[in-house]
Amino acid sequence: MVGFVDESLRDGPQSLWATRMKTATMLGATEWINRAGFRKVCVTSAAAFETAVRFLRDDPWERLRLLKAYLPDTTIDVLMRSRNLFGWARYPDEVVELLFQCLQRAGTDWLKVFDGLNCLSNIAAHFRIARALGLKTSGMLSYSVSPVHTDEHYVARARELIGYGVDSITLADPAGLLTGPRARTLLAALKTVTQGRVAIEFIAHECMGLSHESHREALLAGVDTVATASEPLANGESVPSTLDILAIARELGVPADLDEEALRRLDDYFHWAAFKEGKPVAERVAFDSERYRKFIGHQIPGGMMSNFRNQLSEVGMLHRLDEVLEEAARVRAELGYPIMVTPFSQFVGVQATFNVIQGERYKTIPEELCLYALGHYGQPCAPMDPDILDKILVGRRAEAVDSEAVFAERVLDDFRREKGPFRSDEELLLHLFYGRDHVEALARHKSAFNGRPSLAPPLRALIEELARENTLQTFKLEKGSLKLSLRFA
């Protein structure tokens, strides 16, 4: 039996809608999501929280409570980024604990936690704190292609996670790089560590067109869950679609307990939501070996690529994009192959652009990259190139930073005294992560909810939309027993 983790509300919008899915749109989907029989439903992440506050003016805490209320039979899952939690700084244990308490009160059952360096000492406390609260945890290991991201790397990290008492290990492939054969060997290696005692969960993106073959191997390897999304929020840079992976499971004889009718209704709802919100619907990606070969060098995520093009075209250097990407591949190696997720993808991308634009390597270096070189973010996946380390730290007080010093710091009392009082811990956390200006703007412009928004049935929705068109004279539609004929004044 394989379980399905739904990512229609989290990874789908994050990968395809720039995280701009409103609470109201999410609530409209809850009836079908709750009925579909998912093992878990992932509902939020750092990006979703921040976007809700800063751009959508949806209260992210209220969103969680509403989702919980309309998903009464559903296990709620939340994605957590290392020490950044839902903000950008590195926060101490007491903030981790306060956030987890608030998430639990708002209905969270599971947390899946990752660190962009797979440096697990950064997140050991998360598992301890969550367990003490009674939350379930998954330790997420991100896959990458590099000389250091070997089976041995993942086996060692998985062993470490099991030592921290995780309830499951999630193998994540954020850039969709896992080929079928590689997925098979890697999952087999992980199984030697888990011995069937710790669940293995699998999430892989479609970006390269490999997600179906990697899922086929994952299902054959007997993973406990796969992560998928409703079709209009699947594919492209997102995870594969639930019905597609369900079809593969059926073909392989792997049982899955999902309500297909509910899944179809969910797909249909999101087709409408995407149309009304003016969001694109992505397609399956055709695998292209040349594109894959070029991509594994730099592994700059799709979302960052558009920003990159902007920067280069401003400088009139868009024609040198290939050169910048080749440079990014060099920088990524020199920095010790960080996983190309926030914030490390920015380090590599920005430094590569500086290097090419200025015609001199590492002449200008972002502050955060210096901190990274000093060990602020923890242990890089591989040691940094020593010459580059010298270049970055030249003329600076090259004091190594104790990446763990922050863990035991006490910041909340001072923060309450200086910036408070706050009406609740939830409000305090929003202030801590996003600052007073955004929280006040949220309070002023907050979207209001009176229950789940109602949606006109398809035929009425069609007529309402047609009435808004000013180009139409007559409109006739026949489908099955339906006959519709309209003449416009």
């Binding site: 087709h271 149309f275 200025q358 270096i365 398809p458 035929l459 929705a461 068109e469 004279q473 006739k476």
Partner: protein, 162 residues
């Protein structure tokens, strides 16, 4: 029984069908008429003449004008004397004169700086990079405003070498 009936009825037309139909309606709006027969679907549309439509203001939301990319207005290049060195933006980004909001600026006009001293910060894709003085000297002008979007190569601080 009635719920089963409802299910069948609602499936006579799905939201996906509605989306497909509306896309066709909009994409063929320049035609006079449009006929489609596909499987059990029959669609037939006639459009108003172009002259009729032109008399009417376009209804909002039909076709949004292409978004114009936000572009920083190029600040006029300040006149830079031969004896003055300009510290220029290494990339498109946001320029800051102080290490944090509320803190005093790194430099003011008239200050003496050493080569390598920080004279400002630039935020590129959420990463802050220090801007350093290429020479020792006196700050004679700070043409870039705090918090302004600056372009690649735009002069930020002018220094007269001493």
């Amino acid at each position: 029984m009635s719920s089963l009936m409802q299910r069948e009825m609602s499936y006579a037309l799905t939201y996906k069908d509605v989306v497909d139909i509306l896309r066709l309606v909009r994409e063929s709006a320049h035609c006079q008429s449009f006929e489609l027969q596909l499987g059990d679907l029959k669609l037939s549309i006639t459009y108003r003449c172009a002259s009729d439509a032109a008399n009417e203001a376009p209804r909002a939301g039909l076709i949004a004008p292409p978004a114009v990319a936000e572009k920083p207005e190029r600040a006029p290049e300040p006149t830079i004397g031969l004896d003055v060195v300009a510290v220029r933006a290494p990339m498109l980004g946001t320029f800051y004169r102080a290490p944090a909001p509320g803190e005093p600026p790194y430099v003011e006009v008239g200050d003496i700086v050493e080569e390598g001293d920080t004279v400002g910060l630039i935020d590129v894709m959420k990463l802050f990079t220090q801007i350093t003085a290429p020479v020792s000297g006196r700050v004679v002008e700070i043409p870039a405003e705090n918090g302004a979007l600056v372009e690649y190569g735009q002069p930020l601080v002018l220094i007269e070498p001493l």
